[in-house]
């Protein structure tokens, strides 16, 4: 047990150390090359941007809501659609190609249209984040459901198991390792989607704030905004890892 804990703390220590190292390199880079602050601020100057009243908390909250909202809607819709496709083959053959071509629409280009349809706000940004990140979840779930042994399904079908029983007891747990690999890819897409949405059509959020401070050349604030966006993304990623740790048990994780 104690060796396990020592192992763990060593692991986390290494993670923190590597991040601190990057900050140090950033600091040295700015100092040694004497980079002007409007090009690249030092880590301290970036941190100091927090003292300027840019509504950091409220803006971060808005961006986080957009990212998490779009993301979790995508998880439910992606898994749900994959399930429906596996239940109804007709749906699969007709809708899957449509989903794929719809996915090719550049979501960024849809931004201005969303303003026309829904005006500014959180909702269109949630929709952009959702639409940009749900396909990998749909595809990996679809793949996971196909990997389930047909004999296993036959075994419970011989007992007249309902569709719902087959899904909850066999298909869903069986495809969780796949679903989570799609969910991990989707995190970064959800972040990108929400920020692009804010660039195009928003009056709040960290992406919107970046455009504001760009005008005044407050590069430190821009750095801080990027840092906060990254932290929101990392928080989401860690949440997904934690969920995976809880729900994907033992060696079904290694695949």
């Amino acid at each position: 047990m104690t060796t396990w804990m020592a192992e763990k703390s060593k692991h986390y220590g290494l993670i923190i150390a590597i991040h601190l190292l990057v900050v140090l390199i950033w600091y040295l880079f700015v100092e040694i090359w004497d980079v002007p602050a409007y090009v690249m601020p030092t880590p301290q100057a970036t941190l100091a941007a927090l003292t300027v009243d840019y509504n950091w908390l409220a803006n971060t909250k808005v961006t986080a809501i957009e990212i998490f909202g779009g993301y979790f809607i995508a998880v439910f819709v992606g898994v749900g659609l994959a399930l429906l496709f596996s239940w109804f083959r007709l749906l699969n053959t007709t809708l899957m190609p449509l989903v794929v071509s719809l996915n090719m629409i550049p979501k960024v280009a849809m931004g201005p249209l969303f303003i026309v349809w829904m005006s500014y706000g959180v909702i269109p940004n949630i929709i952009i984040a959702f639409s940009i990140c749900f396909l990998p979840i749909l595809l990996t779930t679809d793949r996971g459901l196909k990997e389930i042994e047909p004999d296993l399904v036959d075994l419970v079908r011989a007992l007249k198991a309902s569709r719902w029983q087959i899904f909850t007891k066999i298909q869903l747990p069986g495809s969780l390792p796949y679903i989570f690999s799609g969910m991990k890819v989707a995190v970064v897409l959800a972040v990108a989607g929400a920020i692009v949405g804010e660039f195009i059509a928003s009056q709040e959020g960290l992406g919107y704030l970046m455009l504001q401070v760009q005008v005044t050349l407050d590069t430190a604030a821009m750095f801080m905004a990027v840092l906060l966006i990254t932290l929101v993304g990392v928080a989401l990623y860690l949440l997904v890892l934690a969920l995976e740790h809880v729900f994907v048990i033992r060696d079904s994780r290694v695949q």
Binding site: E149, D151, L152, D154, L155, V156, R157, A158, L159, K160, A161, Q165, K169, I170, P173, G174, L176, V248, I249, R250, D251, S252
Partner: protein, 254 residues
């Protein structure tokens, strides 16, 4: 003559593949008594699995009649079938005991009782003390024992086994044959057992049905008159050899 537990009469099954019809089973007629152990042998792809799936109610035959439940034994198609496949097909995210309980969960049986029964069954198949382990912690043979316990947990009247020991090494396979012989005698179930191994078919079966290459047609169906319980040395007896020769001839392997 009393009515049999299972009656297959001129059973036929045709698969629709792209541009051709594959006759997987053609004209299989056979009676199986309650409590019998029927070995089904035949070349690969001859339709054995298809026949089992028809018995399990997973496929509908395209011709002939299948009737299960007769000879004074009732049969509920939704809960009287247990299945074992070549792969153990345990759910790797579930402990062994919870794997064994799967059919009971599906059928909505009282879980307290089912758990008791699952423990007893695990003891019967020699997996005492492995209840809380995960499948990956068990060897292939042990996983297959757990799969056998799972097929028995809802106390079905008919067990269908599709090459259950096909993936095991020869020694483990002999051991599992002895175990299955004991389990069958203790549980008094009707078992239909598909195998590629002719010695295995004779050793375990009270009856051996031989199917010909595609489409599966009944080439022979005979009682194995060897004293129960059988021990491995029976395989060296003259009678055993004559049964084996009879099957080899039918399959053109003389």
């Amino acid at each position: 003559m009393s009515e049999a537990f299972i009656k297959l009469d001129a059973v036929r099954k045709v698969y629709q593949a792209r541009d051709e019809e594959i006759v997987a089973v053609s004209d299989v007629t056979m009676d199986i008594e309650q409590g019998e152990f029927v070995s089904l042998v035949g070349p690969s792809g001859c339709g054995k699995t298809t026949l089992l799936k028809i018995l399990a109610g997973l496929h509908q035959q395209d011709g002939g009649t299948v009737s299960i439940g007769g000879g004074g034994v009732s049969f509920d198609p939704s809960r009287d079938v247990g299945m074992v496949f070549q792969a153990a097909l345990l759910l790797k995210w579930r402990k062994i005991i919870d794997n064994v309980l799967l059919p009971a969960e599906i059928l909505g049986l009282p879980m307290g009782e089912a758990r008791e029964r699952a423990r007893d069954l695990l003891a019967m198949v020699g997996l005492d003390g492995f209840e809380e382990k995960y499948p990956y912690e068990l060897s292939g043979g042990m996983q297959q024992r757990a799969a056998i316990a799972r097929s028995l947990v809802h106390d079905p009247k008919l067990i269908l086994m599709d090459e259950p020991f096909g993936a095991l090494d020869a020694l483990t396979r002999d051991k599992m044959n002895l175990e299955l012989m004991r389990i069958w005698r203790e549980s008094r179930k009707t078992i239909v057992f598909v195998t590629h191994s002719i010695p295995e078919a004779i050793f375990l079966g009270t009856r051996v049905a031989v199917l010909t290459a595609r489409p599966a047609r009944m080439a022979d169906n005979f009682r194995v008159d060897l004293k129960m319980p059988r021990k491995l040395e029976v395989k060296t007896s003259g009678k055993f050899g004559r049964y084996a020769l009879r099957i080899y001839r039918l399959l053109g392997l003389e």
